[in-house]
Amino acid sequence: MNVLPNSDGAGLRAAARRGLRRGRDFVDETPPDALVTVTVAAVSLLAAFAGFLAVSSLTAIPFAVFLVATGYGWLRHQELTARVLTLTTTVSTILVLGLILVFIFAEAWPTVQYATVNVFGVPIPGLRLFIETRWSPVTPPIQYSLVPMIHGTVLVTIIATAVAAPLGVAAALFLSEIAPRTVRELVKPGVEILAGIPSIVYGFIGFTILSPWAADQFDIVGQGTYLFVGIVVGLMALPTVVSVAEDALNSVPESMKSGSLALGTTDWQTMTSITLPAAFSGVSAAVLLGVGRAIGETMAATVMLRGSPGLTKPLYNVFYGNATLTSLIAANYGDADGLQLSALFVAGVILFVTVLFLSIGSQYIEARMRRKLGGAE
């Protein structure tokens, strides 16, 4: 999405100097009462935020001051107030991400600490969460192993990706390159609408129709299989993959496609040799987005799985399904407290970090491809 500029110390220093200068200029140029208003607003907002964080009943007072100050600023110094307000909203957006990070990490910390293991005298916090395989939050010996859930999440994600990625990309190719215009104009919005089917509805159908059917077909004990959760999650991610990948394919310039066709190649050759490679970044971003959805998908897994953390036997037995990181949280948050609740937050941290990396990764791929393609967007 963006090209990271090379960060060298000199650049940073220069930037800092520029910032300082700009700050001074700003103070010089701004009328004093505007400056006061903005300062009051900023300080009171900060105070309100601090109050909220500290669970103070007085939070409302600085917030009221903030409202009054901005109201005054809006009437008298709209230009400046607008700028400051929009800056505030921007900062809050980043703050939300920061707060999520801080809070779920903080909540997760007790269990991470509890699960410290000494390796050659070096304490490694949280290691026990990943080397044990038993989740037993109540019955001693108490263990908070996340391995079974990670195993479940990985299996579901692999299956879902195997469903959503090839089918989704092929369908996107169909929509953007092959389908007649009328079909495309009907199907594209249809697919986008389908992306909105709530996951609980998929879960409902999976739970009432698919799970019993699978138990019957594969003669398994009980219901809930990673295989079918994976398939359902894959289907759920499918419209997203199709829609995003289609956009990417569509953004390949017509001149490139025409260029290939004018050389006397078939449509299929043009698609595989020109369009797909050129749209590679967008298509892979679509797939990564789909993978992210699959990893973070909660309700279908919660409803369809058995909810008893444990590894399947053998490990590749996809006909059994116990729990994923998400379903663990959804199924247990209500019963858990203390370290067990904290362990659920560890699961949340793992999910969050994984998906964040996927997101950053896809942004990076896209930026790189864009650079490589030069002007060809």
Partner: protein, 540 residues
């Protein structure tokens, strides 16, 4: 060099050989449809079709199909059929065939012949290697038909001879038991073989070469597209069919049929009575409904929008109009994209630990609103940013050249021009959050099947006071229900047995349907808005 592959500019009418290939493609399609029908248990594999048991029919057709394709390939190689094949079928096809036959060889050796590990590995390598060689070494016409046709014939013979018959069962022998039965295996194998042979036949129809590959690929791509569309359509249709009876139970029209409502001081009866959406769950109801959940969902959405939209648009204004493109905007971009893909359950956890303790220490509507607001925020930022970037710089330049300040320009030119995109983005985002279950599970979930009298009344709940926090609203501070959560509790908790709901299954499907209607409604409106604005822009 050119001329080596020169083909006629104009091809003649369909030849007989082409008709044969086309016939094979059609047969493969029939076979595929038949196998789907048996997977979905429309016919069982023992049912007789046209006097022949299904298994035998499938097996027989596979054999015929396999032979047809192989014959075509060989005919082409010997020059009886005019085609335009490449020297080899290509790495992808060869690899795939090698892999398939590797698996087939291994399974036959280990399961049927009962060979040990060494035995089946050798067998696998032999069959896989042979298939690879047959596919890679000869010309494309042989290479892409022979391995596929042989597989179909092999499968057909296996079915016909009853090696895999109706009572066949393969216990995988895993510690957690699982097995494949004939009812599943036969249709699935048939479907797979018919796909493979159908592809080979389509290639043959196109005379191999570039055109053949084109047609072969198109057959698969079309099939994929049709299946996806059909599947997703079925999904919705199924929900609708199952949900309709419950949804419209007790629907009545006529003056005064409906409940009394008071609007602006005037009380009147609605001319329609729709119990499912106008009632809660209560003892005295003839038909129970989900009114509190619907109202809860609406308030959730309203709250989330009120919170996220100003913040999101403000942030988008700042990063597109004020901030220099640099590290800061990059951080915002990464943050918003990261937030956008954050799993909803993580937002739930965040709400649970950040909001709930700060908002009266219990799950509440307000906590749910804010949590969903956090989820909506990144989408608003992203779409607003995109639509503001799409506003041509000329407008900004023109406005600046008229001596108009930046904020005035943003307010009068940029925001109005970007509005369609922003609105569309918000509606789509609302569709997404309206269907979310996980976050409200952790932050808002209230009663599972509340009575109509417990429908939240946010507007009526505001109270003023002289001490901080000046404005309070107990309704916001209480948990209520929402459609996705209600469906969740109906499914998993088996609620209903003791909740006087009555026809619980009907009630559940109706709830699923109304959730679907609400969410897809938002999406449909969002997408229609986008199309409307897009066509309007293009028109001008």
């Amino acid at each position: 060099m050119a001329g080596a592959t020169d083909t006629a500019l104009v091809s003649e009418d369909t030849s007989e050989t082409e008709a044969v290939a086309a016939g094979a493609v059609g047969l493969a399609a029939v076979l595929f449809a038949l196998s789907l029908a048996s997977v979905f248990e429309l016919v069982t594999i023992t049912d007789p079709v046209a006097g022949v048991p299904m298994v035998a029919l499938l097996g027989g057709l596979l054999v015929v199909l396999g032979f047809a394709v192989v014959t075509f390939g060989v005919g082409s190689r010997l020059g009886y059929v005019a085609t335009d094949p490449r020297p080899t079928a290509g790495l992808l096809a060869s690899g795939t065939f090698g892999l398939i036959w590797f698996v087939v060889g291994g399974l036959v050796a280990s399961q049927t012949l009962g060979l040990g590990t060494a035995g089946w590995v050798v067998a696998s390598l032999v069959t896989g290697g042979a298939a690879f060689a047959v596919s890679a070494l000869p010309r494309e016409d042989i290479g892409s038909t022979l391995p596929a046709g042989a597989l179909a014939v092999f499968a057909g013979v296996v079915f016909l001879t009853g090696v895999i018959g109706p009572s066949w069962l393969w216990d995988l022998g895993w510690e957690q038991q699982a097995s494949f039965n004939a009812e599943f295996t036969i249709p699935v194998l048939t479907a797979f073989c018919s796909l493979l042979v159908g592809w080979a036949a389509a290639k043959a129809y196109g005379g191999f070469g570039a055109r053949g590959r084109h047609i072969g690929a198109y057959v698969l791509v079309y099939l994929n597209a049709i299946s996806i569309i059909a599947l997703l359509f079925l999904l919705v249709a199924f929900t609708v069919l199952k949900g309709l009876p419950g949804l419209f139970k007790g629907l009545a029209f006529g003056a005064g049929a409906g409940p009394e409502v008071t609007l602006v001081g005037v009380t009147f009866s609605l001319p329609v009575s729709w119990p499912f959406v106008m009632n809660g769950v209560a003892l005295l109801n003839d038909v129970n409904g989900v009114l509190p959940a619907i109202v809860g969902t609406i308030w959730l959405v309203v709250g989330a929008v009120l919170f996220a939209v100003p913040l999101g648009i403000g942030a988008a204004v700042f990063i597109t109009e004020y901030a220099d493109r640099g590290r800061f905007t990059q951080v915002v971009e990464i943050a918003t994209n990261g937030l956008w893909s954050t799993p909803s359950i993580v937002f739930g956890l965040f709400g649970l630990t950040f909001l709930v303790p700060r908002l009266g220490n219990q799950k509440s509507l307000l906590a749910g609103m804010l949590t969903l607001g956090f989820m909506l925020l990144p989408l608003v930022v992203i779409t607003s940013r995109e639509s503001m970037l799409a506003v041509p710089d000329e407008y900004r330049d023109a406005s600046a050249a008229l001596g108009v300040t930046k904020w005035q320009t943003v307010r009068s030119i940029v925001l109005p021009a970007a509005l369609p995109g922003i609105v569309t983005g918000i509606i789509l985002g609302v569709g997404r959050i309206a269907g979310e279950t996980a976050p409200i599970l952790l932050t808002m979930s209230g009663g599972v099947a509340p009575p109509g009298s417990q429908t939240v009344d946010v507007l009526g709940g505001f109270q003023l006071q002289y001490a901080p926090p000046f404005v309070t609203n107990p309704e916001l501070m209480q948990a209520t229900s929402a459609l996705p959560y209600q469906l969740y509790s109906l499914i998993t908790a088996g609620v209903g047995q003791s909740s006087n709901i009555g026809a619980i299954d009907e009630f559940r499907w109706a709830t699923a349907l109304i959730l679907l209607v609400v969410v897809l409604g938002f999406y449909a409106v969002g997408i229609a808005t986008r199309y409307y604005f897009r066509s309007k822009l293009q028109h001008e």
